[in-house]
């Protein structure tokens, strides 16, 4: 249905002070229905990678393929949740949620009905007609996530969806996402700084090196689903966490 493949993606930005190599021949392959986490040091190029997959940026070399079809530079192929929520302050939660349908000329009133039906699942019941300014940080993230789900794309890119939240809210949202995840049936790529988050949520983890990003490690997370927060005390969890920490520290120490 929806596999995502990155073939030898490189990207260098040229700035006034010189050229900044950001991505160095990255290869990734994400299977249909898989949940993959990408961890890497800050500034390693994770958002740049997402921008390339979303077609916002062109790679210098390499190709993006969805279901074996090249889509490099094409927009609107994947659902993208940017690092900050990017909710439009003049629209209600519902209108923000159906934005992709509006842009892509779909059936907006059907999308509104669908959004309304999902409000409760997203912990936003009764908040559908309220503007984002009145929402808490966690609710804003859920509204942005609802917008991403209603984009109706089999592949979702989530760029640090919980990065700006406090630890407690983040843990609650991770738990919530785990619950929602099974029913959604989507391919997900999640960027995060948080090793625990990656292990709890993902089927497989890519660790990137510091800029220019290469793949330092690729590990499957062999922990049974359904998972929950109690996992953090599992010995397998601790082992994997130590391994990832090791690679992250080494990888960013080199360059």
């Amino acid at each position: 249905m929806a596999t995502l493949e990155l073939r030898s993606i490189s990207k260098t930005f040229s700035t006034a002070t010189g050229s900044v190599p950001v991505l160095d021949r990255l290869n990734m392959r994400i299977a249909n229905g898989e949940f993959v986490a990408v961890i890497g040091p800050s500034g390693s190029g994770k958002t740049t990678l997402f921008n390339i997959i979303a077609g916002l940026e062109l790679p210098d070399t390499g190709a993006v393929l969805i279901d074996e079809v090249e889509v490099t530079g094409q927009r609107g192929q994947v659902a993208y949740m940017p690092q900050r929520d990017a909710l439009l302050p003049w629209l209600s939660v519902i209108e923000n949620a159906v934005l992709a349908t509006v842009v892509q000329g779909g059936d907006v009133s059907a999308a509104r009905r669908e959004a309304r039906a999902l409000l409760a699942d997203f912990g936003l019941e009764g908040w559908g007609d309220v503007r984002p300014a009145l929402l808490s940080g966690g609710m804003r993230q859920r509204a942005a996530f609802l917008r991403t789900v209603l984009w109706h794309r089999p592949i979702m890119l989530l760029d640090e969806p919980f990065g700006a939240l406090d630890a407690l809210t983040r843990a609650q949202l991770q738990q919530w996402l785990l619950g929602l995840w099974d029913r959604l049936d989507r391919t997900v790529v999640l960027v995060t700084h948080d090793i625990d988050e990656a292990i709890i949520l993902a089927d497989r983890i890519y660790v990137l090196t510091a800029r220019p990003a290469r793949i330092a490690l690729e590990v499957p997370v062999e922990l049974p689903r359904p998972r929950s927060y109690t996992l953090v005390t599992d010995p397998a969890f601790a082992r994997l966490k130590r391994q990832l920490q090791q690679v992250l520290v080494d990888g960013s120490g080199q360059s």
Partner: protein
């Protein structure tokens, strides 16, 4: 600003009205007292040195003149408004469209922007008589003068406002595959509204003065004509009255725009 966000303030209690009154007094009290003090001082100075009315009329005389000439003034004021409103409307339409066009085309911007700036450095008192010569004594040259003095802040603020849209929101819409027009309609025009209103507020303060100036140069009615006639007759008190009406008119239009802004840019200040 939002009424949903601040229910405690709008809830009526026994203390709230008195508190609201005190807050209002704290805001408007000092300037009101200052104005009253200055007026009293002015009256005293005129009376003490027996300054002739044609040189500096006292406030009491100005008020008396205002009441006396109310019917004539109303006619002139309405006449001035028939120049101000169309002139400003023209500036709004042209300024906004030009702003959008210059934003869309860098080439156009490089070609026209310097001309726009230059147009603002030419004194309007030099252009206005030429317009009257060119277009006659009808309404049109006067409307054009008002448009000329008011369109610039609207163009500049429209261009700036269109650039001010949040980068992340822009990228999100682009990732959805939004076209140039969708980006404009769904995001950039909305994001530009606060800046456009700033431009409109600056422009509206010039608009009445622009109309008065145009009438002074060539018209048969309007506050500008009233001022010119009063000056010729050494009726300084009438000049003061006309100045007062001009500034009240400007304040009224400014307030109207501010109310419109609060209604249209309803999300501003919510966050």
């Amino acid at each position: 600003m939002s009424n949903e966000a601040s229910p405690p303030i709008s809830t009526p209690t026994t203390i709230a009205p008195r508190l609201a009154w005190r807050v209002r007094m704290a805001a408007y009290g000092p300037p009101a007292l200052l104005v009253i003090g200055l007026l009293l001082f002015w009256e005293a100075v005129v009376w003490y040195w027996a300054i002739p009315v044609w040189l500096l009329p006292p406030p009491s005389r100005i008020v008396a003149t205002l009441l006396d000439s109310l019917p004539t003034l109303t006619g002139h004021t309405l006449s001035t408004l028939t120049v101000t409103i169309p002139g400003f409307a023209l500036a709004l339409v042209v300024g906004f469209s030009l702003g959008v066009a210059l934003d869309a085309s860098p080439l156009l911007r490089r070609a026209i922007y310097p001309l726009l700036v230059t147009s603002q450095t030419v004194p309007i008192v030099a252009i206005a008589p030429l317009l009257v010569v060119g277009f006659g004594f009808g309404l049109f040259p006067k409307v054009l003068v008002v448009a000329l003095v008011t369109f610039f802040p609207i163009v500049v603020n429209t261009i700036d406002g269109l650039q001010s849209a949040d980068r992340d929101q822009r990228r999100l819409l682009e990732a959805m595959g939004a076209s140039y027009w969708q980006l404009l309609r769904l995001l950039r025009l909305r994001a530009a509204l606060p800046a456009i209103f700033t431009g409109i507020k600056v422009a509206i303060t010039y608009s009445v003065i622009g109309a008065v100036l145009a009438e002074w140069i060539g018209a048969s009615a309007g506050l500008g004509v009233y001022i010119a006639r009063s000056l010729r007759a050494f009726r300084t008190d009438q000049v003061f009255v006309a100045a007062l009406v001009t500034s009240l008119l400007t304040i009224a239009l400014f307030t109207l725009v501010s109310l419109l802004e609060r209604w249209i840019v309803f999300w501003k200040g919510e966050r």
